[in-house]
Amino acid sequence: MIELINVSKSFKGVKVLKNISTKFETGKVNLVIGSSGHGKSVMMKCMVGLLKPSSGNVMYDDRDFTNLGYSQLREVRKEIGMLFQGTALFDSLTVEQNVEFTLKMFTSMTPAERRDRVDFCLEQVEMKGINNKFPAEISGGMKKRVGIARAIALDIKYLFCDEPNSGLDPVTSRVIDELLKSITEEFNITTIINTHDMKTVFDIGDDVIFIYQGMNEWSGKVKDIHSSNNEMLTNFIKASYFD
């Protein structure tokens, strides 16, 4: 479980995140929704340690991520996988080398064991057989899948996805959604997805937090979204149907 306790983040005096407190449960697909520019990505960056919160704490199963020492931080980070909006695959490495990267850096696996693990991860995302291709040689949807395979290469506990469907066609988007859902359930991990794709929310979401102007405007179960009388959330949902 990941818990945010009064997390705030300011840039040059402008408060982008305002006292956000919430919990993301293990084994569930937790969705962070909200319009662009309202702080979703900043919140995710604070959670994974790419940004340091101005105040507040990020707890990873009772470990205070914001105040850990360098070596402890590194240990927690080995439990984190992240799928970036632009996939962030390493251009100079092949698909296999991308997936193998963390295994090579952090495990003492033999090359044969690493290859087996890479094959297993690529099989999970239905991408077997493209091991020797470079990221520039595969499509956007394939890159996303390889990104997921890279994220789960180590035995992660937490999976973060920043706009996993951006730039994808509707069919591929659904495939990615299903993948994220099945990986979450199969490995019993805490998955947190930033999105403004409401189809994703209703298809695979368990819990939702709605961020509006840097604040936790609404949070609850996906099934409760339609019965919510929060005006901002209702407007956001309505607007997304007209997209």
């Binding site: 980070r77 080995k78 992240m82 632009g86 390493f90 251009d91």
Partner: protein, 229 residues
């Protein structure tokens, strides 16, 4: 950058790859520049010193000393600042703007160490080697130009070069090469790593890397000459 590497073997692999990129990848341009700079210097020295009172081997001694003291290390490294420096800055800069550096950080890897250290170590190993090759080829260029133009024979050239040779000059040249290698790789890696924005900023970082490296090389050239000569 100087924290303990996550896995030494990976860093060694990366260093070898960078040695290939920096050293082998720059060999052709270094060869061309070195031969021509030696040849042109020979012709110009001969043009300025043409007199029956000056022995021809003097031309060889001036060209070989100039090559060793200034031309090979400084000109070669200025060119490498352009070639290697822009490559390093744009590579790391592109990784920055495409979130690849963020990906490294999320994985728990010291991104600055992982990206910059192998390049700096590779530069410190390969650039002095390129400078040594450049010294040799500058002299070869001088001999070829001397023979081809009939200004002096290769015996006269090497007589002059041998008579004026001082081992310290070679050491001085290598000290320069190490200094410039560190400047080129570290300045360029820094410029790339601190890139912020998109493609336009990657280009700007690449330009800054070359300009700052070149200026720093010229400053340190003066300082080293002042201190060591």
């Amino acid at each position: 950058m100087f924290s303990k590497p996550e896995k030494l073997s990976v860093y060694i692999d990366r260093t070898i790859t960078e040695m290939n990129n920096i050293g082998v990848g720059s060999l052709s341009i270094v060869v061309i520049i070195a031969i021509f700079q030696g040849a042109v210097t020979t012709l110009q020295i001969a043009y300025q010193l043409i007199s029956p009172l000056i022995a021809k081997p003097v031309i060889g001694s001036i060209v070989s000393d100039s090559s060793m003291l200034e031309l090979a290390p400084t000109i070669t490294c200025l060119v490498l600042a352009g070639k290697v420096g822009s490559h390093i800055a744009s590579e790391i800069g592109t990784m920055r703007v495409s979130e690849q550096i963020d990906a490294l950080e999320v994985m728990g890897i010291n991104s600055s160490g992982y990206l910059a250290l192998p390049k700096i170590v590779a530069g410190l190993i390969m650039i002095p080697m390129l400078v040594i090759i450049s010294i040799f080829l500058s002299n070869l260029g001088g001999v070829i130009a001397g023979e081809a133009s009939g200004i002096l024979t290769y015996e006269e050239y090497f007589q002059g070069a041998r008579e004026s040779f001082m081992p310290f000059n070679l050491l001085f040249s290598l000290i320069k090469a190490f200094t410039y290698a560190f400047i080129i790789t570290s300045v360029s890696a820094f410029q790339g790593y601190t890139t912020n924005g998109g493609a336009l900023e990657v280009g700007a970082s690449s330009t800054k890397a070359v300009v700052y490296s070149a200026v720093a090389i010229l400053f340190s050239d003066y300082l080293l000459a002042q201190i060591l000569l």
